[in-house]
Amino acid sequence: MIRPKRLGMTIAHRAAILVYVAFALFPLYWLVKVSVTPNDLLYSEGVKMWPSRATLDHFAFVLEHSDFPLFFRNSMIVSVSTAFIVTILSSIGGYALSRFTFRGKFWIVGLMLLTQMFPLVMLIAPIFKMLSPLGLTNSLSGLILVYVAFNVPFATFLMQSFFDGIPKDLEEAAMIDGATRFMAFRQIILPLTLPGMAATLGFVFTAAWSELLFALMLISGVDASTFPVGLLSFVSKFSVDFGQMMAAGVLALIPACIFFLLIQRYLVQGLTAGAVKG
C-alpha cells in the first residue's frame, strides 16, 4: 500500500522533472519552429507556437545548395579526434595526479589551473604566429592540436576526480599479486573509470563541436571550415537568412544530441559503487 505522503512526494518529484525537461527543451523547440517557418511568415507569425504553414525548404536549401555538408564533415573529424586524444591523455595524466605524490606536482596543477584563467582571445595572435610557419593554419590538424591542448587541463582534473573516487586498495591488491602499476591501471582501474571517460569524451566533443573563435581565426578557406564558422557565413553573406541559419543549426545539433544520448547511460551506471560492493 502506498502512503499518501509517499505518493505526494512522487508526484512532486515527477512534476519537478517535467519542469526541467520543459525548460531544457523549449528553446530547442523554438529553434525547430523557426527553421520550418516559411520566410513570408517569419515575422507575421513570429509569436505563434507553430506556423500555419510548415516547410522543409530551408533544410533542402542548406543540404543541397550550401557547403554545409562539407563543414559538417570537417567538424566531425575535428571533434571526434579531439575527444579521443584528450580522453586518452587526460586519463593517464589524471591517474598520475590522483595516485602519486611527486616533486613538481604542485606546480603542474598550478600551471594547469593557470590555463583556465585567462580569456583565450589573448592567445589568438601568438598561436597564429607559431602555427603558420609549421603549415598548421588552415588545416584540420592544426585545429585539433589547439583544441586538444585547450581541453586537456579540464579533462585531466575531471579524470582525476573520477580516479579519486576509486579505492586505492584495488590496484594495491593487484600489485601485491605481481602486476606492475601500469598493468593494474590498465586492467583494473581503467574499466572502472569507463563512465568517467565517457563523460570526458562527451564534454570534449561538445566543446570542440561548438568552438567558434579559433576556428574563425585559424581557418580562412572553405575547405577546412567547421560548422560554427559555416553558420556565421549565413549571417555575413548578403543579409541574414534566419530560416536557413536555424535549419543549419538544427542539423548541427543532431550529432551532438545523438552523442549525448549515447554517453549519458554510462553516467547512470555508477560503476564505482558496484566495484566497492562486489
Binding site: P27, V47, F102, P119, V121, F154
Partner: protein, 310 residues
C-alpha cells in the same frame, strides 16, 4: 606504497633501471598532457603577456614598440573597464549561483531510479550539447517581442507593463544573457554532481536509514561531505570560465545598451577584434587573470582543507 618504504630504509635490491622506472612513473604519465599545454598554451600566453607592455595594433606597421606600463595606466582611468568589472561580478555571481543551485537540484532529482529516468536525464542534459553562440542567437530571438514568446509571457503574468525586449532595457538587459547562460550551464553542474552522487556508497545511506536518520540528516552528513570536494572544484572552474565567457554576451547584446552588459571578457574581445588593439586587450586580460588567480588560490586552499578533513 611498498616502493617508498623499502627505498627509505635502503633495502631496495632491485636493479637501478627498475627503480628509475618507478621513480619516473608519475612524470611519464603526466608528460604528454603537460608538453602540449606548455607548447600550445603557456608559450603563447607568455608572448601574449609581452603584448601587454607593447604597442600592438594589428595592421599598423609602426606598432610593436615597448611602452612599459602605459596600457595599465590607461586601464586605471578607463571608465568602461571599471563598469565592465562590476558587471563581471554580477554576471559571474548570478550565473554560477543559479547554475549550481538548479544543477544540484537536478542531480538530486535524477539520483534515485524511476521509470523513464534515462530519457529525462538525456533531455535535461541536452542544452549542454548546443553550441554557445547558437544558444545565444536563439535566446536573443526568443527575447524579441516580434519573433519570440518570452516578452508576451512576462507581460501576461504581469511582470512587465508592456511586452518589450528586456535586452534593450538598460536595467534588465543583463538578465537576458544570464538566463541563457543558466539554461546552457545547468547540465554541467548536474552531470558532475550526479557522477559524484553516484559514487557515494549506497550502504552508507542504508546504514543511516536503519539508525533512524531523516532524509535531511542523511543529506547533510553523508551527501554534502562527499560532494564538497567536487563542489569546490566545479564551482571554482565554472566561476573562472564564466568570468571569461563572452560568447553569449557578444552574440546577444554586444555589451549594450550603453555598456550595461559589457563584461571584462567581452570588452577584451571588442578591443581585440573591433579596434584590433591587441596590446590593450592583453593588458586587460592580464588584470582579469590576476584577479581570477587570487580567487582560485582561495578555493584551492579551501578544497585542501576539506580533503584533509575526510
Amino acid at each position: 606504497m611498498t616502493e617508498a618504504v623499502s627505498a627509505q630504509y635502503g633495502r631496495d635490491r632491485r636493479p637501478f633501471l627498475r627503480r628509475l622506472a618507478i621513480a619516473s612513473e608519475p612524470y611519464l604519465y603526466s608528460a604528454p598532457a603537460l608538453i602540449l599545454i606548455v607548447t600550445v598554451m603557456l608559450v603563447p600566453l607568455a608572448i601574449g603577456i609581452s603584448y601587454a607592455f607593447r604597442d600592438m595594433t594589428l595592421l599598423d606597421p609602426f606598432s610593436g614598440g615597448f611602452i612599459g606600463l602605459d596600457h595599465f595606466r590607461a586601464i586605471a582611468k578607463d571608465k568602461t573597464f571599471w563598469l565592465a568589472l562590476k558587471n563581471t561580478v554580477y554576471w559571474t555571481g548570478y550565473s554560477v549561483a543559479l547554475q549550481f543551485a538548479f544543477g544540484l537540484i537536478l542531480a538530486l532529482l535524477l539520483d534515485k531510479p524511476f521509470y523513464g529516468r534515462g530519457l529525462a536525464q538525456a533531455l535535461c542534459f541536452l542544452p549542454w550539447a548546443v553550441p554557445s553562440f547558437l544558444s545565444g542567437l536563439n535566446w536573443a530571438w526568443m527575447f524579441n517581442p516580434v519573433v519570440g514568446p518570452i516578452p508576451h509571457w512576462l507581460y501576461g503574468i504581469g511582470l512587465m507593463s508592456a511586452p518589450d525586449n528586456i535586452l534593450s532595457d538598460p536595467d534588465l538587459a543583463m538578465w537576458g544573457p544570464i538566463i541563457a547562460n543558466v539554461w546552457w550551464g545547468i547540465p554541467f553542474f548536474a552531470i558532475t554532481l550526479l557522477a559524484a552522487l553516484q559514487s557515494i556508497p549506497r550502504d552508507l545511506y542504508e546504514a543511516a536509514a536503519i539508525d533512524g536518520a531523516t532524509p535531511f540528516q542523511r543529506f547533510r552528513s553523508i551527501t554534502l561531505p562527499f560532494l564538497a570536494p567536487t563542489i569546490a572544484i566545479t564551482v571554482m572552474l565554472r566561476t573562472i570560465w564564466i568570468a571569461n565567457f563572452a560568447d553569449l554576451i557578444v552574440v546577444m547584446t554586444n555589451g549594450g545598451p550603453a555598456d550595461k552588459t559589457q563584461i571584462v571578457a567581452s570588452y577584451i574581445f571588442t578591443q581585440a577584434f573591433r579596434r584590433l588593439d591587441f596590446g590593450y586587450a592583453s593588458a586587460i586580460a592580464m588584470v582579469l587573470l590576476l584577479l581570477l588567480m587570487v580567487y582560485s588560490l582561495l578555493i584551492v586552499f579551501l578544497r585542501q582543507t576539506l580533503l584533509k578533513e575526510r
